[in-house]
Symmetry: C2
């Protein structure tokens, strides 16, 4: 990189024009540039192997075409399609994406600071934790920096948010079981008690409750097992469930599992115990990642439009950046859809 870089000035010189002209052809400001001049400039650029310096451009324009993405856990596979969705629209719109991981509030604050120093045009927050403080977001808001929240409800209607309808998804999942004739339905929950707590875990629990109550069934909290959203947690929770199941006359005939990773663990524990799915025990989950169709039996699950969430969030942000702050902040809640596969089987009483 210690090569003398070729600048707009060199191009101008070689083409025998001024820097303004070069700048004009660079930016498509062609009404001011004659045909011949244009080609001459282009030629000179090619000859010199000229590459415009985006840093210098940002410097004078006082803005960048870069947005910062701060995410809580890059490792979480759920977020990968979101990232992909974001990357897709940003690339299409000519924006760059700079990544910052932040697992806790301080790290998040630091990330925001760093990103702002980079003069990002906007910020995207993609986090999973529950009851994450929102003060520094308010500060962003006050500074007029565009940002949108992805999958983190902060109960503030002044913030732009893209959310999954977790409660609705859980409702849908549980109702599917109900519709099949199940009336005793256990819950393998997300991080309800384990740390970090999750917004979605709470909402999915809520959906389960509501579905049961809607049928005048008493949600039996003793059939809730916290699986912490992991394969391992689901496996363990299922083992607990199975142990308790044997001690009781009328155990649940179905399980609502709050995500697909846990469902994989549940499936393993259940199969090891010789319990048959769906005949002995029906299972619904939430998420629908690629593997959901290839478990044995294949998971019936409520699909979350994760990639779409990324796209929507990116569009929301870009709108704000380009057209100024919208009059009202938007809370976009994404709808989910049930994907029926094999883990629920047919009607229980048929």
């Amino acid at each position: 990189m210690k090569k003398e870089s070729v600048t707009i000035r060199h191009v101008a010189q070689r083409a025998g024009v001024s820097v303004t002209t070069v700048s004009n052809v660079l930016n498509g400001n062609l009404r001011h540039v004659g045909e011949a001049t244009r080609t001459a400039v282009r030629q000179a650029m090619d000859d010199l192997n000229y590459r415009p310096n985006a840093i210098a451009r940002s410097m004078v324009r006082q803005t960048t075409a870069t947005i910062g993405l701060v995410m809580s856990e890059i490792q979480n596979p759920v977020l990968v399609p979101v990232l992909d969705g974001v990357a897709e629209v940003l690339a299409a719109e000519g924006f760059r994406l700079v990544l910052a991981e932040a697992d806790n509030v301080e790290a998040e604050a630091t990330a925001i600071e760093t990103l702002r120093e980079q003069q990002v045009a906007g910020l995207l927050f993609m986090l999973l934790s529950y009851r994450y403080p929102a003060e520094h977001l308010q500060k962003l808001h006050g500074d007029g920096l565009p940002f949108v929240l992805l999958n983190r409800a902060v109960n503030d209607r002044s913030l732009n948010q893209v959310l999954f309808d977790d409660t609705g998804a859980a409702l849908m999942a549980t109702r599917h079981l109900l519709g099949l004739g199940h009336s005793r339905i256990g819950l393998i929950s997300g991080s309800l008690q384990t740390i970090p707590l999750r917004q979605s875990a709470h909402n999915r629990w809520l959906g389960w409750r509501q579905a049961l109550e809607g049928q005048n069934l008493e949600p039996d909290e003793s059939w809730i097992f916290d699986g912490g959203y992991t394969f391992e947690g689901g496996y363990r929770a299922a083992q607990e469930f199975l142990a308790r199941r044997k001690t009781v006359a009328n155990p649940p005939t179905a399980l609502f599992v709050a995500n697909d990773a846990m469902a994989v663990g549940v499936l393993k524990a259940v199969q090891e115990a010789g319990v048959k799915v769906p005949s002995d025990l029906a299972l619904v989950a939430i998420g629908d990642p690629p593997f959901a169709a290839y478990t044995y039996p294949a998971l019936t699950t409520v699909a979350l439009p994760v990639q779409d969430a990324g796209r929507r969030a990116a569009h929301l942000l870009l709108d704000w950046i380009r057209n100024g702050q919208p009059d009202r902040a938007q809370q976009i809640t994404l709808n989910c859809s049930l994907v029926v596969r094999e883990t629920c089987g047919g009607n229980l009483h048929r």
Copy 2:
């Protein structure tokens, strides 16, 4: 963002010093700055809520603390831990990460161009395709821009690379089967025939061959089924395998499956067919993602140190950036390790 931003000049004014002094405390150049001055400046920064402009700094320094990551498929879960490893060391070393997705050669060229316009200090390539042209990489090399290749062997010892020992992993996997007494071992391969072709698919096939040949066994190419590295492909390939298996007197007693995703599909197909793993059919795979321990039965697989690969690549790149181009390019090949779980069972003949 249309607020008047507070600059180093404002700080200087408020602290009653020159911009030079402010710059000096900003950069820890404290030998030239008196104690009192320093605190005054710091105070002024706080008061004004000053945030240094990294763009302006890059402008004058003629370099950024940003590295570009160009990856072929963000969606591929295998790459997520790599990304995490990269992000981890870059964050620790004070570098930013800008992401660019590129699924084909032209997209890659464009991504490189964009990233270079952003004046990235270096480039990381994380791609899966096979026989990807390397000319534009040579150009980078000629321009002296630091870059390292992750998981893309280009057979050019002048390039810095971090690679998985795919052949070794396949050898290890197949030998494990051999050691258990299996002598007829089929292969569910990666994208050997499907597009895009994969370097790793070829190498894993090679490892399988070599293991067999090492025991003076003839690798029977008619027991190779291309699963394209996907759940779906693995499932289909296994169905083909099972169909053929029934038509033959001495079918393979084991399968080397070139990655874990396919192994999940294989497991499903096999279970649907009522074939028992490992008693009727043993399975080894490669990868060891989180779900590998939670399939039923749990996958015996050769673990790839993916996160470590990301870290190593990042370090290699940072070294180059900071200490100049190394005398010799490094080809780091990462070792793999067998994780024995349940899909192979015990010795065949015991």
